[in-house]
Amino acid sequence: MEKGKANIDYQNKVITIRGLEKSFGDFEVLRGIDLDLYQGENLVVLGRSGTGKSVLIKIISGLLKADKGEVNVLGCNLNTITEKELQELRVRIGFSFQNSALYDSMTVRKNLEFPLVRNQKGITRTEINTSVERVLDAVGLLHTINQMPSELSGGQRKRIGIARTLILNPEIMLYDEPTAGLDPITCIEINDLINEVQQNFHTSSIIITHDLTCAKSTGDRIAMLLDGQFQRVGSFDEVFSTNDDRVKPFFEYNFIQ
C-alpha cells in the first residue's frame, strides 16, 4: 500500500500558485492559496467537501478564473494567457473527472480518438489505432474498445477517463476524486494505476481526494486544505502528527473507525 520512491525533480516547478483567491457570491472558497508542484511529484490535496479542492484544479486547467493571485502552469501565467495559448496548454494537462465524464454517445474507441484527432493534425489511422490501443493497454481495458460507456462499471469508466487524458501524453495530471464511489478493491487498482501513470508517463499530478488510503498510497506530499488555505503541507506522517481538531477526524475516520 505504501508508495514507492518517485523521480521528483525539486529544482523544476511545473505549477506555481501564489495568493490565489476565489469566491462564489459572498462565499469565499479559496483565501490566499500558495502551492508548488514539482516535476514528477504526486501532490494530494485533502479537505472536507465544499472546501474548494475541485475549484483549485478547475482554475489550474483554466475552466474557472481566479479572482486574485497568480497561477503559473508549465511556464504560462493563466492571468495573461490568450485563448489560443490556453488551448495549447490544456493539451499538456490531463484532467480526470470525478464522474469520468465519458462521452455517452461514443464508444470507448471514439472517446479516446476524439481529443487525439482534434489535437494532432495529419495523424494517420494506423497511428490513431496504435495510440488508442497503447493507452487502453496501459489501463488494462483493451477488451472494452468497442463498448459504450453505459456498458462499463464505475471503476472501468474511471480507467477509461484516465486513458482518454493519457492519449495526449500530458505533463501534468489532475485527478478529481479518483476513488469516489468505488469499492475498496477497485480503489486499490485505481491507486496503483495513478502510481503507474506517474512512473510510466512521467507525469506530475495533483490528486484531489478525501480518501486517506488513496492519499497515503499515491501522494509524495499531502496538502491539507482548511478554511480556504493550505494549513498543513508535508509527508503523510507530518500532516497527521497533530492534535488539530480539524485534521484528526480525517485520520480517525479512515484508519480507526
Partner: protein, 269 residues
C-alpha cells in the same frame, strides 16, 4: 408555557422584483447575442466538422420525418375539406387548389415544420447538451484542448438551418398531396389540373419568403436549443428546464419571426 403564534396562512414566497427580472432579461439577451456572435465566429472557420454536421442533419431529419409526413398530409386534407363550404357558397370550388396552395406554401408548411421541429429536435438538443453539461462532458472536451462550442453547437445549428428548409419543402408537397386527395375525391380533378392551379397563384417572392422563413426558423430552433442546453445548470432539474425552455422559447420566436417575415415579404409583392 408560551405558545407559538402560527399564522394559518403561510406567507407568500416573494419572487424577484420587477427590476431584477428586467435586468435578468437584458443579461439573457446580451448572453444570447454573444452566443450567436460566437457561432458566426466559429462555424465558418476551419477545421470543419463535416461528418458531425451530416450526422446531425440525419438525426434532425429522421427525428421529425414521420411526424411531419403525418401532420403535413392531415393538414392539407383537413384544410381543403374545411375551406370547401365557404368557397361553395360563392360557387368557387374551382379556386380550392389555388387557396390551398397559397395557404400551405406561403404560411403553413414552414410554420408546421418549425413547430414540430421545435418540439422534437429543439427539446432533444436542449436535453442532450444539458445532460452533457451537468455530467461535465462539455468541460471534458474543453480541457482536452478541443472546442466543444464548435463541435456541439455549430454542428447542430448548421444542421437545423440546413435540414428544416428541406423538411418544410417536403411538408408543403405532402400537404398538397393531402389537398389533392380531397379535391380529387370530391371534384374529380385530375392531378395535372390540380398542380397547374396550385402553382398558378404562386410567385417567386412566395417561394423565396417561404424558404427564408424555414432557414430563419431552423437557425432559431438550433440556437435556442443549444443555448438552453449549453448553459444548463442545477443537475437533472436543469436538463428538464433546458429541454422545456428550448421548446417554449423557440416556438415563441418562430411566431414572432413569422409575423416579421410575412410583413417584409408583403413589401415585395
Amino acid at each position: 408555557m408560551s405558545t407559538i403564534n402560527k399564522s394559518p396562512v403561510p406567507a407568500a414566497k416573494k419572487g424577484p422584483s420587477f427590476k431584477t427580472r428586467l435586468s435578468n432579461a437584458f443579461v439573457t439577451l446580451y448572453n444570447i447575442n454573444n452566443f450567436i456572435l460566437r457561432f458566426f465566429r466559429q462555424a465558418f472557420v476551419p477545421p470543419f466538422e463535416f461528418k458531425e454536421v451530416m450526422r446531425q442533419c440525419y438525426e434532425t431529419g429522421v427525428r421529425s420525418f414521420t411526424l411531419i409526413t403525418f401532420t403535413g398530409f392531415i393538414t392539407g386534407l383537413i384544410f381543403t375539406k374545411q375551406s370547401r363550404p365557404s368557397l361553395a357558397n360563392f360557387g368557387a370550388q374551382s379556386w380550392l387548389p389555388s387557396l390551398v396552395s397559397i395557404a400551405i406554401m406561403r404560411a403553413l408548411a414552414p410554420l408546421i415544420t418549425a413547430l414540430i421541429a421545435a418540439g422534437k429536435v429543439g427539446s432533444s438538443i436542449g436535453a442532450e447538451l444539458g445532460s452533457m453539461r451537468v455530467t461535465e462532458q462539455i468541460d471534458a472536451m474543453e480541457v482536452s484542448g478541443t472546442k466543444p462550442f464548435k463541435f456541439l453547437v455549430c454542428t447542430r445549428v448548421l444542421a437545423t438551418t440546413l435540414t428544416i428548409p428541406i423538411l418544410a419543402t417536403y411538408t408543403g408537397f405532402i400537404a398538397l398531396l393531402g389537398g389533392y386527395l380531397n379535391v380529387s375525391v370530391n371534384e374529380g380533378t385530375s392531378y395535372t389540373t390540380f398542380m397547374e392551379q396550385v402553382f398558378e397563384p404562386l410567385t417567386f417572392v412566395d417561394f423565396v419568403a417561404s424558404l427564408a422563413k424555414a432557414i430563419v426558423f431552423g437557425f432559431t430552433i438550433g440556437i435556442v436549443g443549444c443555448y438552453q442546453g449549453y448553459y444548463s445548470t442545477k443537475g437533472t432539474e436543469g436538463v428538464g428546464k433546458a429541454a422545456n425552455g428550448a421548446v417554449v422559447t423557440a416556438m415563441f420566436l418562430v411566431f414572432v419571426e413569422e409575423i416579421l417575415i410575412v410583413q417584409i415579404a408583403g413589401w415585395f409583392r
